[in-house]
């Protein structure tokens, strides 16, 4: 192979695969903690995408890296609040099974 750098498509394919694995975990997990982990996986896939575009298409202004910083901030806040909600759910229902959280089912 005679390339001068890693192609952009390689990063995009890795992030696509990571995103789809995250969606699969989100849809299929019974444990609420694993659902939060899947959300973190999806956020990481989006971050890889932003970083790859920032490096290959916008490599002078690198606005994608600034966006990644903001996404990391929001992900940290989301994880903290999500796990707090999970703890208070566990205190009320004594389970972390997603199938038993059906109070809002229509």
């Amino acid at each position: 192979m005679n390339l001068e750098s890693i192609p952009l498509q390689a990063f995009l394919i890795v992030s696509s695969a990571l995103f789809c694995i995250g969606i699969w975990g989100l849809l299929n997990s019974r444990n609420a903690v694993r659902v939060l982990m899947s959300i973190e996986l999806m956020l990481n896939a989006v971050n890889i995408n932003l970083m790859a575009f920032s490096s290959y298409i916008d490599n002078n202004l690198i606005q994608g890296q600034v966006f990644t910083i903001f996404v990391i901030t929001v992900a940290a806040a989301e994880a903290a609040v999500g796990l707090a909600i999970l703890l208070s759910l566990y205190r009320n229902r004594v389970t972390v099974d997603m199938e038993s959280f059906n109070l809002l089912k229509w």
Binding site: E4, S5, L8, A10, F11, I13, V14, S16, A17, L18, C20, I21, G22, I23, W24, L27, N28, S29, R30, V33, R34, L36, M37, E40, L41, N44, I48, M51, A52, S55, Y56, I57, D58, N59, N60, L61, I62, Q63, Q65, V66, T68, I69, F70, I72, T73, V74, A76, A79, A80, V81, L83, A84, L86, L87, S88, N92, V94, E99, N102, L103
Partner: protein
């Protein structure tokens, strides 16, 4: 970047394999504790991918925030809610699996097709600022991204207060649901769960 291209390819291949296999392990493994530690490995490998993209500051932020804070938080949550329980079997679990897997595979093929067929307008590598990206991020954060930066600080404060309020164990003189006085000495005593029986 001054690393030889072969080294870059080897690093990229190893890191992507760790990311993909680790992510599969996170969603597929039975034990949630193994999943949490694998998630830490996935976060570290993603930080390595950022280093390959000339972004040392974001890689450091990724390690600090994700591995140092989010992953530790997840492990603590597992420790607090880790109770062996027999999950109730779902009747249509097989069709659910089939449908969700086919949706994910369709989405994956669609995304990969877009990745490979679209013609990206790549900029020339001569424009790249390379290792000065940390300086440029600082300039962005204090000029054109100043408002989002300040709003992010408010967001973090809100998240911190919200997490404290949600996870706090209320110490009250009277129980809200029953009106009986609460035994203040035994705060750790398990109270009657409010919503368990409702199905």
């Amino acid at each position: 970047m001054s690393i030889a291209i072969t080294t870059q390819f080897i690093c990229f291949t190893v890191l992507s394999l760790v990311v993909i296999i680790g992510a599969l392990g996170v969603v597929l493994l039975e034990s949630i504790v193994y999943s949490a530690f694998l998630l830490g490995g996935v976060f570290m490998s993603v930080a390595g991918l950022y280093l390959l993209l000339n972004a040392s500051f974001v890689a450091a932020a990724q390690v600090l925030v994700y591995v140092g804070a989010v992953n530790v938080l997840i492990i603590f949550a597992i420790m607090l809610v880790n109770k062996k329980e027999d999950l109730k079997p779902i009747s249509d679990i097989k069709s659910r699996r089939v449908i969700s897997t086919s949706i994910c595979l369709t989405l994956l093929s669609l995304l990969i097709r877009v990745d490979l067929t679209n013609v990206w307008s790549l900029s020339s590598p001569q424009n790249s600022i390379g290792e000065e990206s940390t300086i440029r991020i600082g300039e962005h954060l204090f000029s054109d991204y100043l408002l989002p930066f300040e709003v992010a600080s408010v967001l973090l404060l809100m998240a911190m207060i919200g997490a404290i309020v949600l996870a706090r164990r209320d110490v009250m003189s009277k129980d809200i649901s029953t009106g009986l006085p609460v035994d203040q000495e035994l705060i750790e005593k398990s109270s009657e769960p409010l919503l368990t029986n409702k199905n």
